[in-house]
Each structure stands twice: as structure tokens, then as C-alpha cells.
Amino acid sequence: MSYTSDQWRSAVFKLLKLTSKQEINWSPSTIFQGDAWTLVDRSFQATFQDKTYVVSATRTKYFIDEEEWIWSGGFDLSIFEKVSGSYERITSSPEISLVSNLFSAAEASYAFKRGALSGLIDD
């Protein structure tokens, strides 16, 4: 058994809903490290029930041929579980555009929580 992309979609969707209702809180994270071809630009984590969800904006080396490559931007959602003090990665989501929504929602909710504009719009 494995999860279908429809199940993934509804799972990411649920996270999005929880974010917009402010039932989960996102904070900057360094758990997700990427791999040899992927750099993590910015990453947020949130804990819901016993899982930790990490959503990241990433940059991946996209090879045009053997030598030439360009950066191609993307988003990643990985699911971690805390096992004896350290985080263990369970899985990463397939590429669905909803993950980019989740990232921007997480970023926006973090900015709001930290009061990014509070000094400017108070008066």
C-alpha cells in the first residue's frame, strides 16, 4: 500500500486549512537539508499531533547536458517524526502545486505572527 496523489493533495490541503485557521504555527526550521543537487532557501516547520511538517523553498540544479546546469526553483514538503530526541524523515511529498501555496501561507502566517509590519501600521 502507498498513498495516492489524491490523498497527498487532500493532506496538503488540510495543512493549508489548518494554517489559515491558525491552528498550527510555523516557525523557521533547519531540519530539512535537501540533497546533493538541492539547496534549501527557506524552511518552516510546524507540529501537528505527533508529526512535524517541514515546508521549504528549494533550489535544484537542473542539468541541461553533462556540464551545464541552471537553478530551478521548487518547493518541498517533508514529514518528520521525533524519535528519541532527533527528527527522522518519514517521507516527502510528490510535486504538487499546492505545496507552493502552503509555503507562501506558512511564510505569510509567520510574518504576521512576528509582526513584520507592526511598527509601520500602528499609528
Partner: protein, 198 residues
């Protein structure tokens, strides 16, 4: 109003080609078997008659082939148009979807209506319709349905009470966001398939 979409047009043209090839051929053979006198006449068969029949058939085949070539060209131009248009459209749809979800956390239905983001979905859908990709029809129809539902809700909103409802709790809003994201993924998949094909 009669709208001939590319799908309809293709079916029409394809059946036209079939009709033009199959029916005359059967008809011709039938006459040849039953009453060859109609085709060859009563005079004894000679070379010039043979060439004339051959020329007639060749000309007919030429017409049919050029028709099918015209069909092929229109299909190619549709594909090229889709190839150059879809990346932009996909970016647009993802951006609209992000705007929508950003609205969700902080606003109510009244400010969603005044933000003018929802009508952008309609614009994107209409320009997607002009691209004429069959495999996207099904999902874009479901987006259109969700869009209509939400838009009717926003337009019909008159009492200040319903305008104060948070966007978060609206199932129609989330249905639209969900189907839009599915559409964006579908376009991405279609693009990759097309890239692999060329």
C-alpha cells in the same frame, strides 16, 4: 449558440475524410460489379479511357489527402499555440491560487468580494479554453463549476451578516482552491508529456 470546439471540428473532419474515402470506394466497386457499362461505357476499352479513369481516381485521392493534410496542420498549430501559452497560464493560475489562500487567513467574504481575485479565475479559465487542449477539459470544467458557485455566492451577498463570515469556513472557497491546484498540476503534467513527445 453553436460553438465548434477543436474536438468537434476534429471529429467532423475525420468522419468527412472517412466518408470521402470509404463510401465512394464501395459505390465504385458496386457499380463495377453490377453494371460496369456505366463506368466503361459501351465502346470497347482502350488506353485513353484507362488513363482517364486513372486520372480521375488520382485527382480524387489528391483532394482527400490535401484535406487530411489541412486537418494535420490545424492540429499542429493548436499544439504549438498550447506549447507557447501553457507555461504562462500555469504560472498565472498558481499565482491566483496563492493570492486566494493568502486571503483566506485574514479576511471575510466581504473583502474577498472586493479584492477582485475571484474574477481572475474566470479570466484564466477563458484563456485556457482558447488553448484547446482536450486532456484539460474535464478538470477545467470542474474548476468552472466551483468558480460559478463561489461567484454566485459573492454576487448574491446582500446582507452585511453574510459578508462578515470568515473565508476560512466557506466550503465553496476551498473547493475552488483545491480544483485550481489540481488544474495547475494537470497543466504541468501535460507540458511534460508534450516535451517528451517532441
Amino acid at each position: 449558440m453553436l460553438i465548434i470546439t477543436s474536438l468537434n471540428m476534429e471529429i467532423v473532419l475525420r468522419s468527412l475524410v472517412t466518408t470521402l474515402i470509404v463510401f465512394p470506394l464501395v459505390f465504385f466497386l458496386l457499380i463495377l460489379l453490377v453494371k460496369p457499362i456505366i463506368i466503361f461505357g459501351s465502346a470497347p476499352f482502350n488506353a485513353s479511357m484507362g488513363w482517364s479513369v486513372f486520372g480521375g481516381i488520382a485527382g480524387y485521392v489528391g483532394v482527400v489527402f490535401s484535406l487530411s493534410a489541412a486537418l494535420g496542420v490545424s492540429k499542429l498549430s493548436d499544439r504549438y499555440f498550447a506549447k507557447s501559452r501553457l507555461p504562462d497560464l500555469q504560472k498565472k493560475i498558481v499565482a491566483i491560487n496563492q493570492n486566494l489562500t493568502n486571503q483566506a487567513s485574514s479576511s471575510n467574504m466581504g473583502s474577498l468580494r472586493s479584492s477582485q481575485i475571484v474574477p481572475q479565475v474566470g479570466v484564466a479559465l477563458r484563456s485556457l479554453e482558447r488553448v484547446k487542449v482536450e486532456s484539460l477539459n474535464l478538470i477545467s470544467k470542474s474548476v468552472a463549476k466551483n468558480y460559478e458557485t463561489l461567484k454566485r455566492k459573492l454576487d448574491g451577498m446582500s446582507s452585511p451578516f453574510s459578508a462578515k463570515l470568515p473565508v476560512n469556513d466557506d466550503p465553496d472557497f476551498w473547493a475552488l482552491v483545491n480544483s485550481l491546484s489540481e488544474l495547475a498540476d494537470e497543466i504541468e503534467t501535460h507540458r511534460r508529456e508534450e516535451d517528451a513527445r517532441v
